[in-house]
């Protein structure tokens, strides 16, 4: 048999960690991983954050991101050892034999230069072909990847095209030098679900047509099941399981893999209708200095102690709705009734009780907390502000709240930087609960978390709802989350509510076009699902 394209043996990757207030220490990110990739095959690397999947992926280019060191083992690419190769040898293989597609194309394209220049740069700098041929290749790839105006899109600057288009441009950039191996590092994670499916299909088709091998890195098993021949499950820098895609998703051997497969299958029993705590009537809003309504005549009811999920893509107006309800963006029309009283449109007109009874939890727990305050101070602040609690009484209440979010004693003295992502979000939940609100607006609170951690947060939120009777307005783009937590659902599209009702009604056909598109775009843990959906859509559009 011919030698494999990529063969990694006993790879150990280390880094220096700088924990706050402690001396720096060495940490091992990857503990002796073996990996083999044949030409033209796609290997999925899957795991949660910290599993080392990106680190391993980049090691195929002998690249250590942010001072990471490849300390032991061998990496053979095309038969050559590259871990110890010198800078010149690495430059000659990077961009020629191996290329890289990152999660955020928006950040990975140079904002100061045209897309075409960047797409063909590798071909020119490695002397692979002339400018005219490189541009012809690029246009061909733009066309293959389904980009609009393939002839001219290269003349644009990165900020002039959409996120999904830019992600495809980055794929074109990776394929342009005709490499042997492409590393796809979460290439669709940052995209809307309806965009993700197109990009995923484009990537898959491009891999198939060019015969390139790929390492496909993601945390979403359903996504990788669509493109990979084999899947390697990673956890804490070690391999958990390696197998054919079908075996991993249908007959996982390890408990951890089973947990990953069954994650997001949480189902929440819808509660019966109840009187509303929040009523939004005919809300229309626009940002200052614009003449475009971001919210168009939105009407919603949220029953006491229940969850209303607001679903939609980026730009659909979900977060603007939250800003209008909290008073940060006074609507131009419509009214908001809360607990039987009409709320002032403007934040200045609201009473302290109005403010206390509506709390918010954000997507980025990191930036929602002051990094220089301890968890105790952060949670204690609303206790002082709304209830005037001080000293021992306050500390006792902070402890109660920490118990409620299932975090132990010692946490009150810690700083946010010492917490994991899930723990940070829990602290934000405790801070919201401290005000004893009737309504908590949750804005994409699980989107930045790993699936298993996100499940834990959803379960906690449901338990707290049962305990405290608080209602949630739950903003999300993720339909699995919606199924897991909501009693009612509102689907938003371009600022308007296109479908609204009890969860069971909203999720039962017949659907309107947009809800149908949204629901059918959610990847299913099934090989061949992508082809089916794409074929189905092509048939429908041909039928029309």
């Amino acid at each position: 048999m011919a030698e494999p394209l990529l063969q990694i043996r006993g790879l150990v990757i280390e880094a220096t960690s700088y924990p706050p207030g402690e001396p720096p220490r060495e940490v091992t990110l990857v503990h002796g991983v073996d990996l083999t990739l044949e030409r033209g095959k796609v290997l999925g690397l899957i795991g949660e954050s910290g599993a080392g999947k990106s680190t391993i992926g980049l090691s195929a280019m002998a690249y250590g991101r942010g001072g990471v060191r490849l300390t032991a083992g061998t990496i053979h690419l095309n038969g050559r050892e590259i871990r110890l190769a010198d800078a010149k040898a690495l430059r000659s293989l990077r961009g020629r034999e191996v290329t890289y597609v990152s999660q955020s194309a928006a950040a990975s394209f140079n904002p100061a230069r045209q897309i075409m220049e960047q797409v063909i740069e590798t071909c020119l700098s490695h002397g692979l072909c002339g400018k005219a041929e490189a541009e012809a290749r690029a246009v061909g790839l733009f066309r293959k990847l389904g980009l609009p105006n393939p002839e001219t899109i290269g003349n644009r600057y990165p900020h002039q095209v959409s996120g999904g288009q830019l992600q495809r441009c980055m794929t074109a950039m990776a394929l342009c030098p005709k490499p042997d191996l492409v590393i796809f590092d979460e290439p669709t994670t940052a995209l809307d679900v309806t965009t993700q499916i197109d990009v995923l299909a484009a990537i898959k088709e491009a891999i198939r047509d060019t015969g390139v091998a790929a390492l496909y890195i993601t945390h979403d098993l359903a996504v990788v099941a669509q493109v990979a021949d084999e899947i390697m499950v990673l956890r804490h820098g070690r391999m958990v399981e390696l197998g054919e895609t079908g075996q991993i998703i249908h007959a996982p051997r390890e408990d951890y893999t089973r947990a990953l497969v069954s994650v997001r299958s949480l189902e929440h029993q819808e509660k019966p209708p109840a009187p509303p705590v929040l009523q939004v009537q005919n809300l229309t809003a626009r940002y200052r200095g614009t003449n475009f309504d971001v919210l168009k005549n939105v009407s919603l009811d949220l029953p006491v102690g229940q969850t209303l999920a607001v679903v939609g893509e980026s730009g659909s107006g979900k977060s603007t709705l939250a800003r209008a309800i909290t008073g940060l963006l006074p609507p131009t029309q419509g009214r908001i009734t809360f607990a039987g009283r009409q709320l002032s449109a403007d934040l200045k007109g609201r009473t302290k009780d109005d403010l206390r009874e509506i709390q918010m939890i954000y997507q980025m727990a990191d930036t929602a907390m002051n990094p220089r305050q301890t968890v105790g101070t952060i949670i204690g602040r609303p206790l002082e502000f709304y209830f005037g609690l001080r000293g021992a009484e306050r500390d006792r209440r902070v402890q109660e709240l920490l118990d409620q979010i299932e975090m132990g004693k010692g946490f009150a003295d810690r700083y946010p930087a010492e917490l994991s992502g899930g723990q940070k979000q829990r602290v934000c939940i405790a801070r919201a609960l401290a005000a004893k609100p009737r309504l908590i607006i949750c804005d994409e609170v699980t989107s930045a978390l790993d699936p298993l951690v996100a499940d834990g947060i959803l379960k906690l939120l449901l338990a707290l709802q049962a305990e405290a009777g608080v209602a949630y307005l739950f903003i999300t783009h993720d339909l699995a989350t919606v199924k897991a937590i909501s009693d009612k659902i509102a689907v938003m599209f371009k600022g308007a509510v296109v479908r609204y009702g009890q969860k069971s009604d909203v999720l039962t056909p017949p659907f309107d076009d947009y809800t149908d598109l949204l629901l059918s775009s959610v990847p299913e843990m099934e090989q061949g699902w992508l082809e089916q959906v794409i074929a189905h859509r092509r048939m429908e559009s041909a039928g029309n």
Binding site: M61, Y63, R65, L90, R91, S92, L93, R94, G95, R96, T99, Y100, S102, S104, A107, S108, F109, N110, P111, A112, R113, E121, T122, S125, H126, R156, Y157, H159, Q160
Partner: protein, 318 residues
């Protein structure tokens, strides 16, 4: 109208408005000084009658607002008034010296700006390694030396140790361009040493800041050489902060180099201003002050406009 044109026009309008405000401040500042021009001409022993006569003659007994507008109108028509000390036409005196000032500043800038940027790029390329340390060490040493000390060092080296230049930088009308260049060589060397560090360190810091971006990693993973990454990917995104510091240093080269002028006996605006400050020649002080302010405002406005033009989001709207 293209949005970028609108922004540029706004900047220019703002610059002119600022210049007008500065002219008012200069006028008020001189006005607030005890005594006036008539007093300065006639001295402490002047009789009240003589003072009143002179004021009448010079129009000093008119209200300040009228005099301000007369002064402003004069400037716009190129009439800066006459110097008190020798009655010379200020515009003529300034004209020649301004030429000298701009010649010296221009020569220093032509060398210092590219050199500082190249050194900054090299220092960023080898950040933390010996080339970075050598560059930082040398430029920090030269910026730490007072100008006159640097000037005497340079004079010693180039007129005593290696006698290739004249210690005095005399220029006069009718000199050939080449002769002028030779004459200003020493002050130019001193000025380059003085302004190098600031621009070089800003270039280095701006580049290193950009080097944290994801698109730099993309460029590295394309297998580009480090200098290509810095020059083609980092520098285009670091232009705005570099330009603003370059412009501040250019302004310094025009308005702040009186010490160097004195050391080398170079006849330019700085010396002219200081001479007339000591003689309380207020019309000259006013006129030179306004020119210096105009230079500052113009260069900073240019920095702003270049920053705007360097931003692809503004240059190519969606």
């Amino acid at each position: 109208m293209h949005p970028i044109l609108k922004l540029v026009v706004q900047r220019i309008a703002l610059g002119l408005l600022l210049l007008l405000a500065v002219s008012a401040v200069i006028f008020l500042g001189v006005e607030a000084l005890p005594g006036d021009t008539a007093q300065a001409i006639l001295g402490q022993q002047a009789t009240p009658e003589a003072l009143a006569n002179l004021r009448e003659k010079m129009g000093l007994n008119q209200p300040p607002l009228t005099r301000y507008f007369q002064w402003l109108g004069g400037i716009l028509t190129g009439d800066l008034g006459k110097a008190l000390t020798n009655g010379a036409d200020i515009a003529t005196s300034i004209g020649q010296r301004l030429g000298n000032t701009l010649f010296l500043a221009g020569c220093a800038a032509v060398i210092a700006v590219p050199l500082a940027i190249i050194l900054g790029l090299v220092a960023a390329r080898y950040a933390g390694k010996w080339p970075d340390k050598v560059i930082s060490g040398i430029t920090l040493t030269t910026i730490s030396l007072p100008e006159f000390v640097a000037a005497y060092f340079v004079i010693y080296i180039f007129t005593q140790a290696i006698p290739i230049f004249q210690p005095v930088a005399m220029v006069f009308p009718g000199m050939s361009f080449w002769a002028k260049l030779q004459a200003v060589a020493l002050p130019v060397i001193v000025l380059v040493l003085v302004v190098l560090a600031h621009m070089m360190r800003m270039t280095r810091a701006a580049i290193l800041n950009v080097m944290q971006s994801a698109y730099i990693e993309t460029a590295e993973l394309k297998g580009l050489s480090p200098m290509t990454v810095i020059w083609k990917h980092a520098f285009p995104n670091a232009i705005a902060p570099v330009v603003s510091v370059v412009m501040l240093n250019l302004a310094y080269l025009v308005v702040g180099v009186v010490v160097v002028e004195v050391v080398f006996g170079y006849n330019a605006l700085g010396q002219y201003l200081v001479d007339h400050v000591t003689k309380r020649d207020l019309p000259v002080v006013q006129a030179v002050g306004l020119i210096f302010a105009a230079v500052y405002i113009f260069l900073n406005m240019a920095a702003d406009i270049i920053g705007i033009l360097a931003n692809p989001r503004l240059r190519h709207p969606k």
